[in-house]
């Protein structure tokens, strides 16, 4: 095992960085979970071989390109197509039939990362014959991941697993009919991407921008502290039509939140709630 010698960010230094980000760059990470942030920051400092905290701080303050790198590395972009197969099965069987009754379906993927979740949804909509009357708003704090959503290009090496996920979530088609392989990547059908609208949006500081029938925000709020989670849930509540759905990640919940009394969880206990009170 290699000995890795590196500076370690202290709690006080973490606070200094968070202050700088807010005061100089307008990025507010102060309500993110500290343990996770600290680990990501130490990983970055090690990887980029900083010799002192001062050097790291200076670069982050002075170089906009480094700020971009920082945002990309500090946020966690891990994602998958049809992640949690029973979740997607429930969307297919219980959510889409309800959405079908609206003349225009607006869906918000908040914290969409590189787009695997958005393309999974586009496939479900296509198979339910709803894609033509749907709009999928895909937003993220990190502009770099949005470029990937636009291109619809994903690694070929992941397709075996995604195809299995797709089948387990109730898919009946040959999954490879949705993409064209090009060397070690695949490009998904342009038709699937045609209803996706991209925008950067920071859940901490940006407001509501539309009304939706389904909001998906999965594995984003685990990185926030309780108070910020509550604020973001209120933002979602303000952006969701009555009888619309709010879908969270496997380890996230409306339980104990300020908006929970207006919502009813689906009976099978998937992390999907329906807004029953305006």
């Amino acid at each position: 095992m290699e000995e890795e010698v590196s500076i370690q960010i202290t709690d006080a230094e973490l606070e200094i960085i968070l202050d700088d980000l807010l005061m100089i760059h307008g990025y507010d990470f102060t309500s993110y979970s500290k343990a996770s942030l600290k680990r990501r920051m130490n990983r970055l400092v090690l990887h980029d071989k900083f010799l002192s905290f001062a050097e790291f701080r200076y670069k982050l303050r002075a170089e906009p390109e480094y700020l971009q790198r920082f945002i990309e590395e500090i946020t966690v972009n891990v994602t998958e197509m049809f992640r949690d197969v029973t979740f997607y099965k429930t969307v297919r069987e219980q959510v889409l039939p309800v959405l079908a009754t609206w003349p225009l379906i607006r869906i918000w993927h908040a914290g969409c990362s590189t787009g695997e979740e958005v393309y999974s949804m586009a496939i479900l909509l296509k198979e339910a014959n709803l894609l033509h009357k749907s709009l999928l708003y895909a937003t993220d704090i990190n502009p770099a991941v949005l470029a990937n959503v636009r291109d619809g290009i994903f690694p070929l090496s992941m397709m075996k697993q995604y195809s299995e996920n797709y089948i387990q979530s109730g898919g009946k088609k040959d999954f490879s009919s949705y993409y064209t392989a090009l060397y070690n990547v695949v490009k998904f059908d342009e038709a699937l991407g045609s209803k996706i609208i991209l925008s950067t949006h920071n859940l901490v500081s940006d407001g509501s921008f539309n009304e939706f029938q389904l909001i998906m925000c999965r594995n984003v709020m685990i990185y926030f502290d309780k108070e910020l989670q509550d604020r973001v849930l209120t933002l979602f509540d303000d952006s969701l039509e009555k009888l619309g759905f709010l879908a969270l990640g496997a380890k996230e919940s409306l339980k104990f939140s300020a908006i929970s009394s207006k919502y009813k969880q689906l009976e099978n206990r998937e992390k999907i709630w329906r807004k029953v009170v305006e």
């Binding site: 095992m1 979970s33 343990a35 600290k38 685990i222 502290d225 380890k251």
Partner: protein, 198 residues
């Protein structure tokens, strides 16, 4: 083992990491967890998803501790045997709450034992006990090093008694454990953790 001093401080958290072949040792530890310890136990196992309820049931029958899967942002209470959920790393905040994190796998593992050992060491320092059990990779070894640097107590399963010795062996070559755990000394070691002389 006999000439080892008692712990400098009483533990405020015990973290157990295990991979392939570790369950049998965990089953041996469970009956010796005494509520007098007044300590939470956090366990990080490498395992496949979806068998959570079965695992919790199996473990519950062996201990007077409450066995429960870790929930994001929940507070850490004594006399609870916490299990890391499949597919999430477990970190610990300075206010003694859990944070779940779905970032990249570490040592091909999520949850990773290293992640929890390191994060716990940052919060609990000398009041942390880390126990590393049987397994086929080196996850947890770095975490033990850091726990040790911060004054924590390090316990490693005797590779000779481990179903898969690689993980404890790696640990022994990189850290000097405070105790070596064998099937026949589990009770004594847990008594030491509880502050009683052997």
């Amino acid at each position: 083992m006999e000439d080892k001093p008692l712990l400098q401080t009483t533990p405020r958290l015990i973290v157990i990491g295990g991979s392939a072949g570790s369950l049998s040792m965990v089953l041996k530890i469970l009956p010796h967890l005494d509520v007098k310890l007044q300590v939470p136990v956090v366990t990080v196992f490498h395992r496949k998803s979806s068998d959570d309820t079965t695992l919790i049931e199996v473990l519950s029958t062996r201990t007077c501790f409450e066995v429960s899967e870790i929930e994001d942002k929940a507070g850490i209470s004594p006399n609870v045997f916490y299990i890391a959920p499949a597919d999430y790393h477990v970190l610990i905040e300075k206010d003694y709450t859990f944070t779940l994190d779905d970032s990249e796998k570490i040592n091909y593992s999520r949850p990773s034992i290293d992640v929890t050992f390191e994060s716990a060491a940052d919060v609990y320092g000398a009041n942390l006990v880390c126990i590393l059990l049987s397994g086929a990779n080196a996850d947890g070894v770095n975490g033990l090093k850091i726990a040790k640097q911060k004054g924590g107590c390090v316990i490693v399963q005797d590779p000779a008694f481990a179903e898969v010795p690689y993980m404890p062996q790696q640990a022994m070559t990189h850290v000097t454990p405070d105790y070596i755990l064998r099937p026949d000394n589990v009770r004594e070691i847990l008594a030491v953790l509880g502050g009683q002389p052997v």
